[in-house]
């Protein structure tokens, strides 16, 4: 699924546009814990999160995630916007809840971009 199609499905506003135009998503990963994203997200995924901080953008950059979707219509601060521009990460915002956003995207065919395995014991 393209990023543009995913954004249309969740009725999101564009906060920071993707720098490279058309983006094909490898799938989707949803979490508020950045450690979970670092451990399990696969590169190329859309990150759905309620965390509106610079850390969200830096985590996306580290994991090669091209775009972040902020849920619940939360405010996105200027620091996060600046970090996103600097790191070339697209940022969108949907009024939907995380559950609703994930549900609609999965229904439309987007799949989990999750690495197999668990945290080492």
């Amino acid at each position: 699924m393209t990023l543009a199609r995913a954004i249309e499905i969740v009725k999101a506003d564009t906060i920071v546009a993707p720098p490279n135009g058309q983006v094909e998503l490898s799938g989707c990963f949803a979490a508020d814990l950045m450690s979970d994203v670092l451990a399990f997200a696969r590169s190329g995924a859309l990150l759905i999160t309620g965390l509106t901080s610079d850390q969200t953008v830096r985590t996306a950059m580290i994991k090669h995630l091209p775009a972040v979707l902020i849920i619940e219509g939360k405010d996105v601060g200027v620091e996060m916007v600046e970090a996103a521009r600097e790191q070339e990460i697209a940022v969108f915002r949907t009024p939907l809840s995380k559950f609703e956003a994930c549900g609609l995207l999965m229904q439309a065919g987007l799949r989990a971009a999750r690495r197999s395995g668990a945290y080492p014991a």
Partner: protein, 150 residues
């Protein structure tokens, strides 16, 4: 005979500067890419560095990350001046955390930092001196590593 380092870089980490957390790791990632290191290794180093950098930001006064690139591996050392880790075994337990609410508000402090670092790296050693600080040494074999970065 040990290999010679073909690239060395260091980046400082400021303790308690939450808004800067992750800057050193994004710099490490860019520097490794420019040095021609393969994507999987870059990804694993960057993830481990980011978790370690956030540990420094959240718990210590200051620190730095030092990276050496060798033909067959990447060595990383993250050193800090801070309280040290009182109980390393506990700190390695997934889910155990001594982080503040502030840390949790940044999406960290879930007790997954060190387990995550262990998962990404091929070799890991942790020296903690209570009241002095922590030195974390990591080795990542280039290409054919543990695949955690993909």
């Amino acid at each position: 005979m040990d290999e010679r380092s073909i690239g060395h870089f260091e980046f400082p980490i400021l303790g308690r500067a939450y808004f800067l957390g992750g800057r050193a790791s994004t710099s490490v990632k860019k520097a490794l890419r420019e040095a021609g290191v393969d994507d999987d290794t870059v990804q694993r180093v960057a993830v481990a560095c980011y978790e370690a950098e956030m540990n420094v930001v959240l718990h210590a006064r200051s620190g730095y990350v030092s990276v050496d690139v060798y033909p067959s591996r990447v060595d990383v050392a993250i050193s800090d001046h801070g309280p040290g880790i009182a109980d390393v075994t506990k700190a390695m337990t997934p889910g155990w955390s001594s982080a503040s609410d502030e840390a949790r508000a940044l999406g960290f402090g879930a007790g997954m930092g060190l387990p995550n670092i262990k998962q990404q790296s091929d070799l890991m050693s942790l020296e903690s001196e209570p009241g002095q600080g922590v030195v974390l040494r990591l080795t990542f074999y280039r290409g054919g590593g543990n695949g955690a970065g993909s």
